[in-house]
């Protein structure tokens, strides 16, 4: 899933200054799961912004709230309908993709990012998410025991640990495991150390120009079943 953190309240207050009527728009998918911008966080933020306005005595904003199933999908944005009719700005608690999808869908409506989109990761424990995929476009997990060196090695190197590993930890962060020691241990356990002995050539950045596009090769599936 995509993992994000809500922006500090003071940043959000600063962003909405020029606008009177603010629609706080949540996202029912990743942002809900990572506690950054689902229905619950939309409601908390709504209260926090109202409270801050009342306390400061500044600003004359009116707030409304709504959460769509997925901001990154124009199909779900249709459901916004007249919710946007009487607002001056949308404060999106979707990820960076959601914000841009809204901007494309509503060309005349300003849209503000309420979260900082951080990474693609997994839930480690309740309230803790760890980055696991860099979306490099050339998955090599087959060769690395299911542990991604591009994401988990701070240098993203491909041919084994650098000289900075100490006690299995990374030179850039002593709390972080060295990805290459993890890969070594796992390949050894799987009796696949030969994979580590191979030479891996430099990455091909030409294969992943930004921005990327994928065209479905299968028949397009419509409806909500793929949510």
């Amino acid at each position: 899933m995509i993992v994000a953190e809500q922006k500090p309240l003071e940043d959000i207050i600063r962003m909405i200054v020029p606008y009177e009527r603010v629609l706080i728009l949540g996202c029912g998918t990743c942002m809900t799961v990572c506690d950054a911008g689902g229905e619950r966080e939309v409601s908390f933020l709504h209260n926090a912004l109202q409270l801050a306005q009342a306390r400061s005595g500044e600003g004359a904003h009116t707030f409304s709230e709504h959460t769509v199933k997925r901001q990154c999908d124009p199909e779900f944005l249709e459901a916004l309908g007249e919710k946007t009719a009487d607002v001056d700005v949308i404060l999106s608690l979707g990820c960076g993709i959601g914000v841009q999808a809204i901007a494309e869908y509503l060309p005349d409506m300003p849209v503000l990012p309420g979260v900082n989109t951080s990474f693609m990761g997994m839930t480690k424990e309740s309230g803790v998410w760890d980055e696991r995929c860099a979306a490099c476009g050339e998955c090599r997990l087959e060769d690395t025991g299911g542990i991604c060196p591009i994401t988990r090695c701070t240098k993203g190197i491909l041919n084994g640990p650098c000289a900075g590993v100490k006690n299995g930890k990374c030179e850039a962060n002593k709390d972080m495991d060295c990805a290459w020691i993890l890969i070594y241990q796992r390949l050894e356990r799987l009796q696949q150390l030969d994979k580590m002995r191979r030479y891996y050539p430099p990455r091909n950045f030409r294969a992943i120009p930004r921005p990327r596009r994928i065209m479905s090769k299968a028949e397009t599936v419509t409806g909500e079943s793929n949510g």
């Binding site: 701070t154 240098k155 993203g156 190197i157 491909l158 041919n159 084994g160 640990p161 650098c162 000289a163 900075g164 590993v165 100490k166 006690n167 030179e171 850039a172 962060n173 290459w180 020691i181 070594y184 050894e188 150390l193 580590m196 002995r197 030479y199 891996y200 050539p201 430099p202 990455r203 950045f205």
Partner: protein
């Protein structure tokens, strides 16, 4: 031709030194340090923004040594340049008369004084060695032909004190396969451990030059033990330093360094002395070892 290469290939024992370029444009001090080492070492490593701290580049200082007829070992890291810049700097190095190149991954920017910099690492150290070998063969990484090729003597680093050891050796073998012709190691303080490492890599038939860092104080030893990868200074050496009055520390440091060198000398094909500012001790240490 590289004297360093010639000596290593004829099986002779070599001594190399190291100089860190300064922060700023005053390079007199660092050239003076090189002059101090001139008669005692075969070649001098010039570090490439060591510890990811901004300094004068290793290419410029290496070139200054060439002007003075002192042989440099040009250190090149993958931290700050993509493959275009790395290959270009290699070609520039050859044009400036540089033959020895030590290829490294490079300390992460967060270790240094520009922690917000974008880390590059377009290549890793193994891929950089391969790229340099390819240039030696007259082609670039995209297989385009070069107008006349360099002939670098390429080296790499290895950490004999790493735990676990096997990943280090796996990587060392890869480096050899793509063109590393010599290895310089992380600082050695435990000759026993070094010996067991050497026994594991003896069959690879590649010269290993043992890293020797002059230990200046017990505090430095403790700092390295906690923070520097692959270095363990044993308790007895730490105690030796802490039991020595401050005014005798340099003498003690020289004595410990000479002792370690004598212990590792029969095991390897050279020592790489990193004086970390105590350059004036180097001649004395070398005389002591060669006596």
């Amino acid at each position: 031709m590289s004297k360093f290469k010639e000596k290593l290939e004829s099986g002779k024992f070599v001594i190399t030194g190291e100089i860190g370029p300064p922060k700023g444009v005053n390079i007199e001090k660092c050239l003076h340090d090189a002059e101090l080492l001139r008669d005692y070492v075969t070649a001098i490593n010039i570090t490439d923004l060591q510890s990811a701290v901004l300094r004068i580049g290793s290419l410029a200082v290496s070139s200054k040594l060439i002007e003075r007829r002192i042989e440099p070992i040009f250190q090149l890291t993958c931290r700050d340049r993509n493959r275009l810049a790395l290959q270009s700097d290699l070609l520039s190095a050859w044009a400036l008369g540089i033959e020895n190149v030590l290829c490294l991954t490079g300390d992460h920017p967060t270790m240094g004084d520009h922690a917000e910099a974008k880390p590059v690492y377009d290549l890793d150290s193994v891929q950089l060695l391969k790229a340099a070998s390819t240039l030696n063969q007259g082609r670039d990484m995209s297989d385009h032909e070069l107008d006349s090729n360099p002939n670098f003597f390429l080296g790499a680093v290895v950490t004999p004190g790493a735990e676990p050891m096997e990943p280090q050796i796996i990587k060392m073998k890869k480096k050899i396969a793509v063109g590393a012709r010599f290895f310089q190691t992380q600082a050695i303080y435990e000759p026993d451990k070094f010996e067991s490492f050497i026994n594991q890599v003896k069959s690879l038939n590649v010269p290993v030059i043992a890293g020797i860092v002059i230990l200046k104080s017990a505090a430095m030893a403790k700092f390295m033990n906690e923070n520097v990868a692959g270095i363990t200074v044993p308790e007895d050496i730490i105690n030796e330093m802490s039991d020595t009055p401050k005014e005798d520390r340099k003498k003690k440091a020289a004595e410990i360094t000479a002792r370690i060198i004598r212990q590792v000398k029969p095991l390897c094909q050279g020592v790489h002395i990193m004086p970390l500012g105590w350059d004036e001790l180097v001649p004395e240490i070398i005389k002591e070892v060669e006596a």
